[in-house]
């Protein structure tokens, strides 16, 4: 990563996360809890977040399947654009931890962070071109005002060249961060590296 970006409480530096509730103890975890952790994320067994969610392994399994299919499936909307949408949603919801993770993923995929700098400064005006602006705008609107979403929002995305499969991928990426941000915000807190 190039120089760190810090703005409005957001950062693209690597953060930790600590749970507020007791986490599942691996030594006394059930085989099902271990299996779900292993299929959820490569580092899940050392992550407070996954060890909190493992209290109910069936629900965690469905969440992980949805999350991984939305963020990593091939084809459709580019993975960088999915990560951009996730970063925007995380900033709008003020989830500093998720914003950091997905800002890093965007940069890894897109090999640039200009739009991340803009999103951290002000999502409402972010986007380095018309297509990015349309994606960012839709991420804000679906996050803050889901009841207002109508055909005009879809047309604005189609005008920027998104086909309906890509629009669906975008809807999924925005919606799954309504889910992810809340878990990260409401079950624990980010841990900042010592300066």
């Amino acid at each position: 990563m190039s120089e760190p970006i810090r703005d409005n409480g957001f950062t693209n530096e690597v953060l930790g996360w600590k749970a507020w509730l007791p986490t599942v103890d691996l030594n006394s975890a059930t085989p099902e809890q271990i299996a779900v952790l292993e299929e959820s994320h490569p580092q899940a067994k050392t992550s407070d977040y996954y060890l909190t969610l493992a209290h109910h392994p069936d629900i965690l399994r469905q969440r992980s399947q949805a999350f991984n299919a939305i963020m990593y499936a091939p084809g459709g909307l580019s993975r960088a654009e999915r990560e951009l949408a996730s970063t925007v949603v995380s900033c709008v919801n003020r989830c500093v931890y998720c914003a950091s993770v997905h800002a890093q993923r965007f940069e890894q995929l897109a090999k640039r962070n200009d739009v991340i700098r803009e999103v951290f400064a002000d999502p409402a005006t972010a986007g380095t071109n018309a297509r990015e602006k349309a994606i960012v705008r839709f991420a804000i609107d679906l996050t803050l005002a889901p009841a207002s979403i109508d055909a005009s929002h879809i047309k604005a995305l189609r005008e920027q060249g998104l086909d309906d499969g890509q629009v669906l991928d975008l809807i999924h990426a925005i919606s799954i961060f309504a889910w992810a941000n809340r878990l990260m915000l409401n079950l624990g807190e980010p841990v900042f590296p010592a300066d």
Binding site: A66, A147, D164, I176, R182, N186
Partner: protein
């Protein structure tokens, strides 16, 4: 609890009829149905989550009525009228009283006689309206009305799932009304 033939106890995630397709009228064979089910892992995990959150019993955890209250209130606050009506119909099937529904509809949660349900719905409102305010004190408030760790994890997952479901439903509804490109 009542056994309901359409919701057997041994529900396998992803095998129930798709709730969003049904509620939104996304017909099999339609263009949008084809687009949505090209991402079938997402659709099946969405429905699989639905099946788990609203299973008749969640051993040692929130009752079905409590979970339906959370879902109804989340959809009502968003608002997503069709999802709200879906969950309200199921609440009525559980025998909830009209007075409680009126209190929840008007946001007068202090009128609810059950402090546990009041705490659950206050947490729901915070997470739906302003998730950044769902802090450690909000979690402690749940402990104070008697929720254990596993119940809090399921509640947080359920409200977060509802936040996802209402947006997915809104997006799919907009795609449906936009028609074919």
């Amino acid at each position: 609890m009542s056994l309901n033939a359409s919701h057997p106890l041994d529900t396998v995630p992803g095998t129930e009829p798709d709730v969003l397709d049904g509620l939104l009228g996304i017909q099999p064979g339609s263009t949008l149905h084809t687009v949505r089910h090209a991402r079938d892992k997402v659709a099946s995990a969405t429905q699989g989550s639905q099946d788990l959150f609203f299973a008749p019993e969640l051993p040692g955890n929130l009752s079905l009525t409590e979970r339906l209250w959370v879902a109804y209130y989340a959809a009502h606050l968003t608002p997503h009228p069709r999802l709200a009506a879906h969950y309200l119909a199921q609440l009525h099937a559980q025998g909830v009283d009209a007075l409680s529904v009126a209190s929840v509809d008007s946001g007068s949660l202090d009128e609810l006689s059950d402090p546990r349900l009041r705490g659950i719905l206050e947490f729901t409102r915070t997470l739906i309206e302003s998730p950044v305010h769902g802090d450690q004190a909000a979690v402690q408030a749940l402990h104070n009305v008697g929720l254990g760790t596993e119940e809090i994890v399921v509640l947080a997952q359920l409200v977060a799932f509802m936040s996802y479901q209402v947006r997915l439903a809104a997006g799919l509804g907009a795609l449906l009304s936009a028609g074919e490109a």
